[in-house]
Amino acid sequence: MTKTALLEIRNLSRNFDGVLAVDDISFDVNTGEFVSIIGPNGAGKTTLFNLITGTDQPTQGQIQFEGKALVGLQPDQFAGRGLARTFQNGRVFGNLSVLDNVLIGAHSRRRDSRPRNLIGELLTALIQSPAAQAEEQQLRREAEAIIALFGERLTPRLNNPASSLSYANRRRLEIARALALQPRLLLLDEPTAGMNLTETAEMLDFILRLKQNGLTILLIEHKLTLVMELSDRVIVMDNGQKIAEGTPAVVRSDPRVIEAYLGRKQHQRDLTSEASQTPL
């Protein structure tokens, strides 16, 4: 076993004023793999995502991505390493057009239109060198192509402000923005939250296509149907800790997992409604 994982997480913890939101978590994600993180509300899944993508800093532990440490980098350096994420609550840039939102996703890939030094960047913006213009046009074409992946959902709204989009379309836009980064690891935080059955099914197909194209994906999701269908491996979190890990089939029958879900009254109903769609 000389193969190193794409993402290696070792003993990661995040302490919020005495509350361990993430408690000594370790796991790997290999290139091309599809890993899901599930767990009851408040289990620490989103905090874990924040730690991996630099939105938050861990209290302890290490994160290695492609063999290089991520902990200690500035939050804006994570994108340059090839990590892209969507946000649980939806954080599109409301007053930017759909196209502009996706183009921001490609920000870290800019070379000619984003010189390293500040004065250079200012002058490039003012003068618009042919190279910078060409790059802008190229990224624009790519962005339109990404938006077209969602069929007729976003393309007709290319120049509309993101704030005018429906909830489901905002989630699609978030994924489009993340894809524009050409990520080597894509982190999706509840991409189907608030979507109806048709929209969820459509999203499942879309994510499946991304997986088939070889993209490495880390997913947080409550809809277990989706998780079971997509995942190569599932990690179960509860109270900040990893309580189980394995293939969907293994995790499904793990007594600790069942306890984590059914042992709490408030989640019993969630799971039953889940189960009514597809039996676990």
Binding site: F16, D17, T53, G54, T55, D56, Q74, P75, D76, Q77, F78, A79, G80, A84, R85, F87, N89, R91, V92, F93, G94, N95, L96, D100, L103, I104, G105, H107, S108, R110, S113, R114, L118, E121, L122, T124, A125, L126, Q128, A132, E136, P161, S163, S164, R177, L181
Partner: protein, 611 residues
């Protein structure tokens, strides 16, 4: 040594007395911040009006002291209710900066009204208390000192009892903790807000009257400094923290008193602003609160409304430019040309604000500081080093760009109204440094005989030539800014305005792009300031005040935030309208304040829409 101890004692008494005043102001701000989550900029004006009401009672009505206090309490209490009605209610769902802007507008109106009614000149306020100091073993205390101390401590105790033991206090505290939950539980939140504003305004009014008696003078401009110092005191103790506000007020009073004793009275105002900035940088939650966690939700820091942009056809814009250029050939009225020249120069300031606040989302209220840096740099380069005007102008703008960015750099991580306050503080610090750096700036006397603008050695003095010169500067900046805003750089700025966390996750270095936005903004403001200095040929530390910053912000909001054309439309409208209605010229700040209040309430997207 004995002398030193006496001095120390006197300064301590002075500091505690003034500290008591600051504490009264700060406690009011804390109450309002607590229930309304609002920094009330009109608070200093209420304090000033309290002083004037006391003055009217003492010098016109000749009421006994206790009656005067009752009148102050009634008038300021009612004023507080009015401010709540127009500054807060109806803005609950607006951008978080909206109520702050509304209260700035209200303070403009109150200050100007006072000036109109009582003249801008200071009025002498006779102190009815016995003047003879009470001598206590070699040291002495005046009766007014004791009165202020008694009222200060008395108010604190009464307030504590009200908050702790009455139903009203219970409702106030409930609203402060969770507005929506309080409402659900049957608390009339509007009534609570009204009461909080009334209570806070009464405290401010009393403070104003006491200060009037203490210094035996009242003047309309006492409001701004007092409001900002009350805010500094409140911040020192932690925003919204009432005991903290009292301690903050006393500490600020002591620091100021010792500082004046050590450095001289011209430094008086510097201490509060340095403390303000230092607390914002190092302990934004005050001395007694713990550090705050990452805000969970996007917190838009500026004033951008979702709206449809109104695009003017290209030919309209070109026609407008042509008319502007040809105007002096047709109309040869020097006064009108001067007014329009002012509009172009203020238009530059509005452009500088619309870039940093509109496009990049960083609320900047300290442009006056940038104007002053540009003005002094260019004036000094031509006066002392005899540089040619053009070179001095560009150098001044560059210096302002660099210096301005360095000044704002420490407060970059602040957002929304914290940044707004910090930039005001930085603007004030610039003005105070200019005042006190005698050897360079000639201190309070200012710089005179600044050479007028020139081109290649030819002096530009004719009104139409100055007009064209300033218009050329404006059009150049418009062109450059237009290119910037439409480039990928402009897109990055707008992204960081919309959501800093998401922008960062996509590789946008916040500091880098904020620095760039502030640098360009300061550059443009510096250019305007420098040109203005040469046009006036005289400047001092008060040529550019916070009112200039607020006026330029109002112009930017009027036109539509981030909207380049809007900034110029806003500037033209606010410069020319008071002139058209001749009667308005004297009341222009009343008009500006009203425009700001109405805009924030009814048309936050401005005339042309935010971009």
């Amino acid at each position: 040594m004995d002398h030193f101890l006496h001095l120390l004692f006197d300064q301590t008494v002075n500091g505690l007395v003034i500290g008591n005043i600051y504490a009264l102001i700060a406690v009011g701000l804390a109450i309002i911040f607590g229930v309304g989550n609002l920094i009330n900029f009109a608070h200093g004006s209420v304090y000033m009006i309290g002083a004037y009401v006391g003055w009217v009672c003492a010098t016109r009505l000749h009421t006994p002291l206790y009656v005067s206090f009752v009148v102050v309490i009634v008038v300021c209490g009612l004023l507080g209710i009015l401010i709540e009605r127009f500054g807060l209610r109806g803005l609950q769902n607006s951008a978080r900066i909206a109520p702050l802007l509304a209260t700035i507008g209200i303070s403009f109106m109150l200050d100007q009204l006072t000036q109109i009614i009582f003249s801008p000149d200071p009025q002498s306020f006779p102190n009815p208390l016995p003047q003879a100091p009470i001598v206590l073993g070699g040291t002495s205390i005046r009766p007014i000192d004791i009165l202020i101390a008694v009222i200060g401590i008395g108010s604190a105790v009464i307030l504590f009892l009200v908050l702790r033991y009455t139903k009203l206090g219970w409702a106030l505290r409930a609203t402060a903790q969770d507005r929506d939950a309080a409402q659900q539980m049957g608390v009339d939140v509007n009534a609570v807000n009204r009461t909080a504003f009334a209570l806070a305004s009464i405290l401010a009014g009393i403070a104003g009257m006491l200060v009037g008696m203490y210094f035996q003078t009242v003047y309309p401009t006492m409001s701004f400094q007092a409001g900002l110092k009350g805010f500094s005191a409140n911040l020192l103790g932690g925003l919204g923290n009432i005991p903290g506000a009292i301690i903050g007020g006393l500490v600020l009073g002591l620091i100021e008193s010792y500082g004046v004793a050590a450095f001289g009275s011209s430094y008086r105002n510097l201490f509060a602003f340095v403390i303000l900035i230092a607390v914002l940088i190092f302990r934004p939650n005050g001395l007694f609160n713990r550090k705050r966690q990452l805000p969970p939700e996007p917190l838009t820091g500026t004033f951008i409304a979702n709206n449809r942009l109104i695009r003017l056809p290209r030919w309209v814009i070109i026609a407008a430019i042509v008319i502007a250029i040809l105007f002096p050939l047709v109309v040869n009225n020097p006064y009108l040309l001067q007014v329009l020249t002012n509009a172009w120069l203020l238009g530059l300031v509005a452009l500088s604000i619309t870039l940093v606040t509109g496009t990049a989302g960083q609320t900047a209220l300290g442009q006056a500081g940038f104007l002053a840096i540009g003005a002094y740099t260019s004036a000094l380069l031509t006066l002392r080093l005899h540089w040619p005007f053009e070179l001095a102008l560009i150098t001044a703008a560059l210096v302002t760009g660099v210096l301005g960015t360095l000044l704002v750099l420490p407060v970059f991580r602040l957002r929304a109204y914290y940044l707004a306050i910090a930039t005001i503080g930085i603007g004030e610090i610039v003005s105070q440094v200019i005042l006190n750096w005698d050897s360079l700036t000639n201190g309070a006397l200012g710089l005179t005989n600044i050479p007028p603008p020139s081109i290649l050695g030819y002096q530009i003095v004719l009104p139409q030539h100055v007009y064209w010169y300033s218009l050329a500067l404006l059009l150049t900046v418009v062109l450059l800014q237009w290119r910037l805003v439409r480039s990928s750089l402009g897109r990055v700025w707008r992204a960081l305005r919309e959501d800093e966390v998401a922008a960062q996750a996509y590789g946008i270095n916040l500091y880098r792009y904020k620095a760039l936005a502030f640098a360009i903004s300061a550059f443009i403001a510096g250019l305007s300031g420098a040109f203005t200095a040469h046009m006036y040929t005289y400047i001092n530390h008060e040529t550019f005040t916070s009112s200039t910053s607020i006026l330029a912000l109002t112009m930017a909001i009027l036109g539509g935030m981030g909207n380049i054309l809007g900034a110029i439309v806003g500037s033209l409208a606010l410069t020319i309208l008071p002139e058209i209605f001749r009667g308005l010229v004297d009341y222009r700040y009343l008009f500006y304040g009203l425009v700001l209040v109405l805009l924030v309430r009814y048309r936050p997207q401005g005339l042309l829409g935010t971009e």
